[in-house]
Amino acid sequence: MKISDELKNQIFFVIPAYNEGNMILNVLKKLDKEGFKNLVIVDDGSSDNTFNSVEKYKLKNSLDDLVLLKHIINRGQGAALLTGMEYARNIKKCKYIVHFDSDGQHRISDLPKFIKVLENEMVDIVMGSRFLNSETRKLVPKKKQILLKLGILITRFLSRIKLTDTHNGYRVLTKDAAGKIDITLDGFEHASEILDEVIKNKLKYKEVPVFIDYTDYSKAKGQKISNSVKIFLKMVFKN
């Protein structure tokens, strides 16, 4: 499925960024090249040049629809996502909101799969999965697979949601669904909270296979085992 220019104009990318000065411009260039202009970047209190580099890039390329929000202090990815969503869903032309990583892990080529489901089926939120088919699974490092599988089992038990990949940051949701999702957990544990919100608000969901590109950079910035334990504890006590 090819996304029409008219639809592209209704899709808003929410991209949280924390100390991504080196990578985020590559992501923005790729999105711009594909014709996606509505980009909401949330600089989550970065201590590097993230904010300035995006601002310069916006001015240099006259990207009027690129919105740069700044958290004055670091609050975490979940908090940044909600800030971006709050902004995007108040824009009249916004139809879909895409959660997209700033470290280059997500592929824009996967987006049509999400949009196809949203356009053709009565679904509120479409979530990416690394484990829906063998091709996408192959890219996930073995250690990460074990950890993620454990997370999936725990989330299935706590949230009562049947998904093959519970901690995938690539999601597309309708504007209405975005208005129903309230993220109170600021850090990485927001992924589990979103699933709780999906169940609580009886949102219709579906998964599509996505490729996640694990580079040395993204692996270094990714979640550590200690974080997973923290996420687990927060989920248990929130439920």
Partner: protein, 114 residues
């Protein structure tokens, strides 16, 4: 009166003075918390000045060791206070995030209006 009693009397007086001084300064906390801590240190002070109070307590409530009872009670109350503090910190975390979000959205709105 032995050395340890004098030591705790001085310590309790110091603690009471410190809470009292804090209540008068800019760093004051809520009046309920101040009264709570003044009461705790006041009880400690009374027990060390009048050790017979513990005996009276043991006879009155029919327990073998009032010191042990107070120790367990103190640990229980301390854990409760720590839990309460965690809860307060968590509430503040949520509020700070809301504030940070509002500021960032407001700044963009103002920028768009210019």
């Amino acid at each position: 009166m032995d050395f340890i009693s004098y030591f705790f009397i001085v310590l309790s007086l110091f603690a009471i003075g410190y809470v009292w001084y804090s209540s008068k300064s800019k760093r004051r906390i809520s009046i309920l918390v101040e009264v709570f801590f003044l009461a705790i240190y006041g009880i400690v002070l009374l027990i060390f000045i009048f050790p017979g109070l513990l005996k009276f307590f043991e006879v009155f409530f029919g327990i073998s060791s009032a010191i042990n009872f107070f120790m367990y009670l103190a640990i229980f109350v301390l854990f409760l206070i720590v839990y309460n503090l965690y809860q307060k910190i968590e509430e503040q975390r949520v509020e700070i995030t809301k504030l940070v979000r509002e500021i960032s959205l407001m700044r963009v709105d103002n920028g768009n209006k210019k």
